[in-house]
């Protein structure tokens, strides 16, 4: 009986530790994932770091691979937002493609992104459906 009690205590300590770590992890990693239209209607998301998915408009796209910057309009169904991205330009980045950006709005209403991920073009319907690590192209 005594050893069973010990097992229970060890188990509960472990569960509490994991629970705490998971909670802390969720708090740290928490990032809203929204569409462009949704971002514009939700005022509470204006101030914080979010992940936005949308389509890159070919019009008004300015990419400087040498300077590692890209400015473009990210479009949803009805609205669009100006995005300024700083970092390595992913290979599949081009007008008409779906991308995901992560960052915040600056004072001038430009979305400053430091993460830019491309989704595969529909032609390549799934680069490879089972490849692991589709991470960041």
């Amino acid at each position: 009986m005594q050893s069973k009690a010990k097992l229970w205590i060890a188990g509960s300590v472990l569960v509490c530790a994991v629970g705490y770590l998971a909670f802390a992890g969720v708090k740290r990693g928490w990032v809203y994932y929204v569409q462009v239209d949704e971002l514009l209607t939700a005022t509470d998301l204006r101030q914080q770091r979010v992940r936005v998915s949308g389509k890159v408009l070919t019009e008004g796209m300015a990419v400087s691979a040498g300077q590692l910057t890209a400015s473009f309009q990210l479009a949803g169904q009805r609205h669009q937002i100006p995005v300024h991205y700083r970092g390595v330009i992913p290979e599949m980045f081009q007008g008409g493609n779906d991308v995901v950006v992560e960052g915040t709005f600056d004072g001038a209403g430009v979305f400053q992104a430091d993460v830019l991920m491309t989704k595969c073009a529909s032609k390549y319907q799934g680069k490879h459906p089972d490849s692991i690590a589709q991470g960041r192209p």
Partner: protein, 663 residues
């Protein structure tokens, strides 16, 4: 012709699987050996027909037969033949055909292994496998047909995605699928044993070999995938906690847990319900992983074509969960062991703790993967948790797990003997402290790195000391010379030393992960021709941009002269490839690997005319050990499966003490 042949073969496979199900069910009901024999032969027919379908698709791929939508979508005429053939699993339809084929082949293998067994249990096993194979045949026919014809035959195909034109991609998917398919066999054996209400629990032990093979393949698959991501995706990492990656990790975690708790059952008759539940979980998690990544319910960076496949997998998953839960509940008394784990400081206690930790990692990974879905349901807004979430929980749990791995071999089954435990643990603990001190004098200050050093040293020391002890005992007892005694010790217990090799692999793996994640250096450089820069211990000089042409792409490349502090020089050539059939360019990273670290250079971009050229330079310490560790894990699993190689001498006469020490 190919299209008709392929479709007929899949139709035939579906029919044969249906008949195999009927005959095996009849055999289960009436216990007639002839019916079971018929069911096994029908399963052979399923495998043969799917082989025909597979060969037909391969022939069409090799032949560039663009009448097939699949061939046109994933290949082009100029593609090298190896990639033409590996396009078999470049898309959803082909990879599901591969999975289904592997399932049928493994089912036939099981039927061959069980050919001497008749009665209701093998009949139920066959029925289960017939249902699973039938599901895949139906899927191939209705939702993901690789033999779909095009109305208009194009002159050339779209070509293979440049990211898949990498040798790693040839082997990664098939190995992963062998692992996935392999978990169906233990599941079927479980269903068979539980349906007929088998009283002994030997069948769980019989699943071990199948599990070990599947586990080894799944491990290779995951390692190859990580390596591919590292070499091909060009962000310097190998694991991003993307849902697609997590999907392959989930069953790996439960299978790893299972391989441990099966030993606890074998030696102490405990953890039976755990084992049964883990067999079910490993199988269902393969299906679940496929479902979430194929159906689009969870947003992955990777987008999938929407199709019926998701619904098929969901239906199968729900049915599988309901069926298995009912079965396990109804037969829970059969899985009652009557034994209990008395102490955490025993070998079986360590196995249980191992399982708990692995399951925690699995649950956290699962939670993170479906978090966007859960938050959408609960809060009406999708939230992603990202790598910080996983790292926060998984890193400490993994360190604990690897630490436990170092301690567990010191423990014995049954009652712990505190004094003896301390005696054996003293040397490894001291060595871990020494290793930490050495790391400190070496200038390592990060607490995580020190902790990892201590844990790796503890694990390595206890493994080596354990081997040395047994070795010395053997030399004393058998009077053999040094080399022969070592060979005999290793050969005498493949399971034990195979397991130890897996653990050594895990330690090396952890070394690689710790080094590359804690001391990862990333620098963005802008260089003009002739200009140089220094990153870490390397001096990089950029000469100038030039162009190179290969079979199906043109590359812009930026040769860099690299000199390290010891004055050794080499040239690295990062490229950006423009494939003829692709709208996008694809970066080809240049990597210089040493035992100590990888120098990883990406050609990020250039100004028109090639004046300023941007590079991303990454230094990833110890990352090479990660792959070595991964392959060592697989080698260890294979060693476990090998029978003893040396002719046994005096084995039967070994004193009980030595046998216990080796057990």
């Amino acid at each position: 012709m190919t299209i008709i042949l392929g479709n007929l073969a899949i139709c035939g496979a579906l029919l044969a699987a249906g008949l195999a199900l009927l005959t095996s069910l009849a055999s289960l009901r009436f216990d007639r050996p002839s019916l079971l024999g018929a069911s096994r032969r029908l399963m052979g027919a399923v495998a043969a027909l799917l082989t025909v379908a597979g060969l037909a698709l391969l022939a069409a791929l090799a032949d560039s037969d663009f009448r097939l939508a699949y061939v046109a979508q994933f290949t082009e005429r100029a593609l090298p033949i190896g990639y033409k053939l590996s396009a078999f699993w470049a898309g959803q339809e082909g990879s599901l055909l591969l999975w289904g084929w592997l399932l049928a082949v493994l089912s036939v293998l099981l039927a061959i292994v069980q050919r001497k067994q008749f009665g209701t249990e093998p009949a139920a096993v066959m029925a289960t496998l017939a249902v699973i194979c039938g599901f895949f045949a139906a899927l191939l026919l209705l939702a993901a047909n690789p033999f779909r014809a095009l109305d208009e035959v194009p002159a050339d195909g779209h070509g293979l995605n440049p990211l898949l034109q990498d040798p790693g991609m040839i082997w990664h998917p098939p190995t992963l699928f062998v692992g996935y398919a392999g978990f169906a066999i233990p599941f079927a054996m479980l269903v068979g044993a539980l349906i007929v209400g088998r009283r002994d629990q030997q069948w769980i032990l019989a699943t071990r070999r199948w599990l070990l093979v599947s586990w080894a393949f799944l491990t290779v698959g995951i390692i190859l995938g990580a390596k591919w991501a590292y070499v091909e995706l060009g962000w310097g990492g190998y694991w991003a906690w993307d849902p697609v990656e997590n999907a392959s990790l989930l069953p790996w975690l439960t299978a790893t847990a299972l391989l441990h708790s099966i030993m606890a059952q074998q030696h102490r008759g405990v953890l039976l319900r755990w084992n049964a539940a883990l067999i079910v979980l490993s199988f269902l998690l393969c299906i679940f992983g496929t479902y979430i990544t194929r159906s689009g319910v969870v947003q992955s960076v990777h987008s999938f074509g929407k199709s019926l496949v998701g619904s098929f997998f969901l239906a199968f998953l729900v049915a599988g969960i309901l069926f298995s839960a009912t079965l396990l509940l109804a037969r829970r008394r059969l899985l009652h062991s009557g034994q209990a784990i008395t102490s955490l400081l025993s070998r079986e206690g360590a196995f249980m703790l191992t399982n708990v930790l692995l399951l925690i990692i699995m649950l956290i990974t699962l939670l993170g993967t479906i978090f966007p879905l859960l938050s959408q349901i609960i809060m009406g807004r999708s939230v992603q948790v990202g790598p910080p979430f996983y790292n926060k929980v998984v890193v400490p749990m993994s360190l604990l797990l690897v630490g436990l791995m170092g301690v567990a071999p010191l423990l014995s089954y049954g009652k712990p003997e505190g004094k003896q435990l301390w005696r054996t643990a003293l040397a490894p603990v001291l060595l871990a402290v020494v290793a930490c001190a050495a790391a400190l004098t070496w200038g390592i200050r990060s607490p995580w790195a020190l902790l990892a050093t201590a844990i790796v040293a503890l694990g390595a020391a206890s493994l080596v000391l354990d081997l040395l002890r047994t070795w010395a005992q053997r030399m004393r007892w058998a009077g053999e010379n040094v080399l022969l005694a070592l060979l005999r010790v290793l050969d005498g217990n493949h399971r034990r030393y195979g397991g130890q090799v897996v653990h050594v692999g895990m330690l090396l793996f952890m070394l690689g992960v710790a080094g590359s994640s804690i001391y990862h250096v990333k620098r963005d450089l802008k260089l003009h021709p002739g200009q140089s820069a220094t990153v870490g211990a390397y001096n990089l000089t950029f000469t100038r941009l030039d162009e190179a042409r290969a079979a199906n792409y043109t590359a812009v490349q930026a040769p860099l002269k690299i000199t390290d502090t010891r004055g050794q020089s080499l040239e690295l050539v990062p490229q950006r490839r423009f494939y003829d059939k692709s709208e996008q360019s694809n970066s080809e990273v240049a990597i210089h690997s040493t035992w100590k670290e990888d120098l990883y250079i990406i050609l990020a971009g250039w100004e028109a005319g090639g004046s300023a050229t941007a590079f991303q330079v990454i230094i990833s310490p110890l990352v090479g050990w990660l792959w070595i560790g991964g392959y060592a894990m697989v080698a260890g699993a294979l060693l476990c499966l090998l029978p003893a190689l040396l002719p046994s001498r005096q084995a039967a006469a070994a004193p009980a003490e030595l046998r216990l020490a080796r057990a």
